[in-house]
Amino acid sequence: MIGLIDYGAGNLNSVRRAFETLGFKNRLITSEEQMDNSLDKLVVPGVGAFGYAVRELKRRGLWPAIKNWLKENRPFLGICLGLQLLFEGSEESPEEPGLGFFIGKCLKLPSVKVPHTGWNEIELSQSDSLFEGIKNREYFYFVHSYAVLDKSDNDKVLALTSYGGNFISAIKQGNIYGVQFHPEKSGPAGLKLLLNWSAKC
């Protein structure tokens, strides 16, 4: 059973529908009590502001539960804002620290047109089962204004994307994954990635 963290911001339907189409059972998690032993995997989908998400997750008691989940290295996928939350913080909401699982901060994208909206390529830095059957430089769908700018010494980075400079588009440590794009909106390649994550990661 996949748990989808719902903090009342974005539309979770598309993530749900993608998992349903792939045949993976999932349910929405809105409170700490719902994070019981029936869950094998956890997704933090993302749309919305960094600070709002942190405050909502705390208000719902989900913040410490997610921190524990990460500490226990249980299968986790952060999507878009869900990836950003794994880092130490964001320029978007300096008053709210992130989960601090990865080192680094999200900064405003250094490009003329922000948000970065549309299909962009990912450059794979290393092979991983998440990208099995997906070609290098495949296009994924992005919508975001903040990102973690490339730290070339970071051996946890799985993929980079360029938009007015390189940023981290996929990262992993142990069973904890984050992707900056929206696999649930990235057509067949996105579904393949979600299938890989559900079945192999």
Partner: protein
């Protein structure tokens, strides 16, 4: 680098997809869910559904279509047409749309853009501008192109973004359905002056028109309806052509 998006637009009325010429003379163009599926398989980068009936019946049809499509198609979906309030927006997002386009209501009540972007994020708010040539420039029109708001299209685009719109869908009233090519001057002026993606709409008749919208007009995406619905062009044909011209496409 970001790819230029090709976005089929499906005009929805009670139970079907329609496409008109200069916003009039509507003719049916096929089953919406089947069309959407076809475009998805052909490589559409996004889909837009516009309720052109603007009645409760056509809205109901739009919601049903968005809901059905979002269960089988996993690319961004935009819905609009007659969107008046936050609850309209919420209803469409809940049905499965990722973005909602707002035209007349934003002109009548600009704060709707701010409220919507605060509630759902700028990425889900598309400001649709029906621009028509007037004496010297272009004005933003309301009510399906029938009423001149008196606002300069360029000023309105900038104001809309300031209020929270995350994208501009720029329709040329003069070119809509004519196949005479996009209004490149209009496109270029708006694209140069705004900091969010601009989607070109209205007037594509040939492959070259699409290329010019991107190359000269600086559009980030192009919206296409009749050219695709009636089979004159396919998405793969368009993408191959653009690729040969050095345009980045998926």
């Amino acid at each position: 680098m970001l790819a230029t998006r090709i976005i089929p637009c499906l005009d929805v009325d009670e139970g079907g997809v329609f496409k008109g010429i200069r916003f009039k003379n509507l003719v049916p163009a096929g089953d919406p869910v089947r069309l959407a599926q076809r475009y998805y398989e052909e490589g559409a980068d996004e889909l837009t559904f516009l309720d052109i009936g603007a009645s409760w019946k056509s809205r109901k049809t739009l919601i049903e279509i968005v809901e059905k499509v979002s269960r089988v198609i996993f690319i961004p979906l935009c819905a609009g047409g007659g969107v008046k309030s936050l609850s309209d927006i919420k209803e469409l997002l809940r049905a499965g749309a990722d973005k909602v386009s707002i035209c007349t209501a934003a002109l009548e009540n600009p704060s709707l853009l701010r409220e919507a972007s605060l509630a759902f994020g700028s990425q889900s708010v598309v400001l649709s501008i029906d621009a028509g040539r007037t004496g010297q420039g272009w004005h933003a029109f309301m009510k399906g192109g029938r009423i001149d708001s008196g606002l300069e299209a360029v000023d309105w685009a900038r104001k809309g973004i300031e209020l929270g719109a995350g994208e501009i869908l720029l329709n040329s009233i003069d070119r809509d359905g004519t196949k005479e090519g996009y209004d490149l001057e209009l496109l270029r002026i708006i694209s140069d002056k705004v900091s969010v993606p601009v989607i070109a709409s209205g007037g594509a008749g040939r492959l070259e028109d699409i290329y010019e919208a991107i190359n000269t007009g600086k559009a980030d995406a192009v919206l296409l309806a009749s050219l695709l619905h009636f089979g004159q062009l396919t998405i793969s044909k368009i993408k191959n052509y653009l690729k040969s011209k050095g345009v980045k496409v998926r």
